[in-house]
């Protein structure tokens, strides 16, 4: 090695009369050699990768067609096809197994009754369930998550305890995926993990828990019990769930949240109360209005549209003149418009008034071409 370096330097010296430049030129030449090799390697990887991908794609398509055909044959015509499928799994190619699992998952999600069960039997007898189980034991978290997904989608409830270990995993994705899997595997109490939910639940987690819950078609539990939670993010989640599933029996429990110090929590509570559509919510909303922030006032006004009556219309009129915020005034005007003929009459009066800003707002709200739905703030 030393000999080679010395040969290299003497070669550089031959070209460079200025001895001071020899070291520097040697260094640059070394880097150039490194870069040339690097370029060659990187670009070769690019070209080889492309060729491999193209070949794999062809193989995948071919194999998938065979696997899909065999599984469908087993499912709808001949149960003896199970032997062929067992042989295919015996090939021990992870690719074959994975293709089978992927297809089984799709079929399992879309079929009902005896086919549903047949698929589950096939999944277990071909030991593909073990194949998925091994993924859970894998150290790579993304493989583990894949295992959770496969087993839960195939309704293998024996693994509930195994997955349970991961709901407090340090990796937030593993922890979330374990919870999503358990929603499906615990149909009697799908949201039980909310009892002990730790930390702040991100909106992403809420989106996924809701999605998984909705697609699992499990019975919606009584959500009131989680309104006792100390975790603010769980409370926010449950308030939206109560609103979505219209659990009117939670009305009294939701009511107390309008007095909480947390503005966002009050916001969600107002929305939920209004959505439950019980007349008694109207008084609560109107009473809370004066002490609320502008944002929450907007949501109260928007919620009041659920309730009609002269008192509400008077309330609108009073605040249309007193409030300064443009969006709030717009909400109030929309509230008036939602009150039928009487409300529209009042809006015409506003349009004829001298207040230019109010005139514009009234004209906007009265213009039925502007679609109402797209106007509401969320």
């Amino acid at each position: 090695m030393i000999l080679q370096i010395l040969t290299f330097i003497s070669w550089v010296e031959y070209f460079f009369e200025d001895k001071g430049l020899v070291f520097f030129a040697s260094l640059l030449l070394t880097f150039i050699a490194y870069f040339v090799v690097l370029i060659f390697v990187l670009l070769s990887i690019v070209i080889i990768h492309r060729q491999i991908q193209n070949k794999l794609e062809k193989r995948r398509t071919l194999l998938k067609d065979i696997i899909h055909e065999e599984i469908l044959e087993y499912l709808f015509n001949d149960e003896k096809e199970m032997d062929i499928l067992l042989d295919m799994v015996d090939v021990k190619s992870a690719f074959v197994k994975q293709s089978m699992v992927d297809f089984l998952e799709v079929l399992h999600d879309n079929l009902k009754g005896k086919y549903h069960e047949k698929l589950k039997i096939l999944y277990q007898q071909t030991e593909l369930a073990d194949f998925s189980m091994k993924k859970i034991e894998n150290k790579n978290w993304s493989v583990k998550v894949k295992g959770f997904r496969e087993l839960s989608r195939m309704d293998i409830d024996d693994v509930e305890n195994v997955i349970h270990e991961y709901i407090y995993a340090d990796n937030p994705i593993v922890a979330l995926e374990a919870k999503l899997a358990l929603i499906r595997l615990s149909p009697n109490d799908p949201l039980w993990f909310l009892d002990t939910y730790e930390g702040n639940m991100s909106v992403w987690a809420k989106v996924n828990i809701f999605y998984s819950f909705k697609n699992s078609h499990v019975k919606v539990p009584d959500l009131r019990k989680w309104l006792q939670s100390d975790n603010r993010s769980v409370l926010m989640f449950i308030l939206v769930m109560i609103k979505h599933y219209q659990q009117t029996n939670a009305f009294e429990d939701v009511k107390r949240f309008v007095y909480y110090s947390d503005e966002r929590l009050r916001h969600k509570a107002y929305e939920t109360l209004a959505a439950l559509n019980l007349e008694s919510a109207k008084d609560i909303l109107m009473n809370r209005y004066p002490s609320e922030t502008i944002e929450n006032k907007k949501i109260i006004i928007s919620c009041l549209r659920h309730f009609s009556g002269d008192a509400t219309l008077d309330f609108y009129l009073e605040h249309l003149n007193n409030e300064d915020d443009f969006d709030l005034k717009l909400e109030i005007a929309y509230g008036m418009a939602a009150h039928g003929d009487e409300g529209e009459k009042q809006l015409i009066d506003v349009q004829n008034s001298k207040n230019l800003a109010l005139k514009k707002i009234a004209a906007h709200v009265s213009d039925t071409r502007i679609n109402y739905r797209t106007e509401t703030t969320s």
């Binding site: 030129a25 880097f31 870069f35 990768h49 993304s142 999605y211 443009f326 969006d327 514009k360 969320s378």
Partner: protein, 480 residues
């Protein structure tokens, strides 16, 4: 005496250039490594993401898409169609006709059966008076609004759109871009994921659509551009967007979300004053200002960047247009950096001030200046001293050339291993061939354009310059 001075100057100058080059190369190598890690982590994390979960979720935020349009008659109908067919539940599309002198407005009004409505607008952010707001009579287009206003530039048009928007998030886009169907779902995800920080803005990768087949607002076939200038930009975009911005997002020092497509928290955007109308680099300025305000208010925040290709744009394919664009980019960068100079090396702004801003100043603004001065110095050595060590010059040149190609090769590899947009082997070969030409053909021009940008900045030039588009329909015809 003079010779002594010039000798001393030469020594100092050469040392400065040497150290600068060393730092620049180190910065590029570091960013390349970081972006590789970041890209890998992103791919791992999003491997199992089902974006359908966001669709119809009561937890998903609503979105206003704002697209300023100035003389976009060629593509406007198709592109609006594309925007109306995005995969997202609660969103509205606001097209701002910024005083077009062609028939942009008439075309939209006729095709989408629009009529003026009595829309009351609250001018939360100052902008030029809005002449009219149009809404379609056809309920199929109920998501669509068109604002007509007098011409006052892109930033002013965006501000008009923000004033009209009613949703939680604002997406600013160039109306001549083609947006991927699931772009909103992908862009909104970073806002949903963070529970401890506020995400103020998010951006994604912009891809080049020249020579691609586009139909009804969707890119159907991806091709390497036939035009060489556009082809050079493919490599430039890959390096800049895949490597540069990915690395800066990872270091939480990202200073820019591309004006072609970016999502912002609407409330914060309004609180920060919307887009600045006195700069030609409004996309960079707004991100820097928002970051600055967040840091000064001690808010825990971040700017997200996702490496998914979300948006396709037609880049300039002629030298004069390209020169104008780069000139404007340079002026925009200088304006933003100088307007927010207090951020420079200020620990209060954390990595954004200590790393991001410093990098942009030293290596985005100053790099062409250093490079140009190096060329001048080289010419001075030849003319005045008549003696240059040509052997060493060649070694140094080959070193820089091979480094540039190595860096581009990494970008091509990242592209191949992740999204491999270019499926044809011939496209990959073309890309590789272009990589060998880019440092000697395209790069020197970018330096000249940047120098012109600096001069124009000093002269106080504020113009945007016209950027004529061929239009995607034309591209489709040429393909078929």
């Amino acid at each position: 005496m003079f010779e002594e001075f010039t000798g001393l100057f030469n020594n100092y100058y050469e040392s400065v250039i040497f150290l600068y080059s060393l730092f620049l190369i180190a910065a590029y190598v570091t960013m390349c490594s970081i972006s590789g890690i970041s890209l890998w982590k992103y791919r791992q994390k999003n491997r199992f993401v089902d974006y359908n979960a966001i669709l119809s979720s009561p937890f998903a935020p609503s979105v206003s898409i704002i697209a300023p349009a100035y003389n976009e008659s060629k593509n406007i109908i198709d592109n609006i169609q594309g925007l109306l067919e995005l995969m997202y539940e609660d969103y509205e599309v606001i097209i701002v006709n910024d005083g077009s002198t062609d028939d942009t407005l008439q075309k939209v009004v006729e095709y989408y059966e629009m009529e003026p409505v009595n829309y009351a607008i609250d001018y939360k952010i100052p902008c030029h008076e809005i002449n009219a707001v149009y809404k379609s009579k056809n309920r199929s287009f109920q998501k669509l609004f068109v604002i007509d206003k007098t011409n006052a530039g892109k930033a002013d048009a965006l501000n008009a759109g923000i004033n009209m928007s009613k949703k939680d998030m604002v997406v600013s886009i160039d109306v001549d871009c083609v947006i991927e169907r699931d772009a909103l779902l992908r862009l909104v995800k970073p806002f949903l994921e963070e529970s401890d920080k506020t995400v103020i803005a998010a951006g994604g990768v912009i891809k080049i659509a020249n020579s691609c087949t586009v139909s009804e607002g969707t890119v159907e076939q991806v091709r390497i551009p036939d035009n060489w200038w556009a082809r050079f930009q493919v490599l430039e975009y890959s390096r800049g967007l895949f490597m540069g911005r990915m690395a800066w997002a990872y270091l939480d020092g990202l200073l820019i979300i591309s004006g072609a497509l970016g999502m912002f928290n609407r409330k914060l955007l309004i609180e920060c004053g919307g887009y600045a109308v006195n700069t030609v680099g409004e996309d960079m300025e707004v991100v820097v200002r928002m970051r600055r305000i967040m840091a000064e208010q001690d808010v825990k925040y971040t700017v997200a960047y996702i490496p998914d290709p979300l948006c396709w744009t037609e880049v300039p394919d002629s030298l004069p247009v390209l020169a104008r664009q780069r000139n404007r980019w340079t002026r925009g960068t200088i304006e933003t950096l100088l307007a927010h100079r207090r951020i420079f090396l200020n620990p209060r702004y954390k990595s954004f001030g200590m790393l991001g801003y410093t990098y942009w100043m030293l290596f985005e603004w100053f790099a062409p200046l250093f490079e140009f001065s190096g060329i001048m110095y080289f010419l001075y050595l030849i003319i005045v001293h008549g003696a240059v060590n040509w052997k060493f010059f060649i070694v140094a040149f080959v070193f820089i050339y091979s480094f540039a190609i190595a860096l581009t090769s990494w970008a091509i590899l990242f592209e191949e291993l992740t999204y491999n947009s270019y499926k044809r082997k011939s496209d990959i070969v073309k890309l590789i061939f272009t990589a060998f030409l880019e440092p000697i053909v395209f790069h020197p021009l970018t330096v000249i354009w940047a120098i012109r940008g600096n001069i124009d900045y000093i002269l106080g030039k504020k113009s945007w310059g016209v950027n004529p588009r061929h239009g995607f329909t034309h591209l489709k015809k040429s393909e078929t």
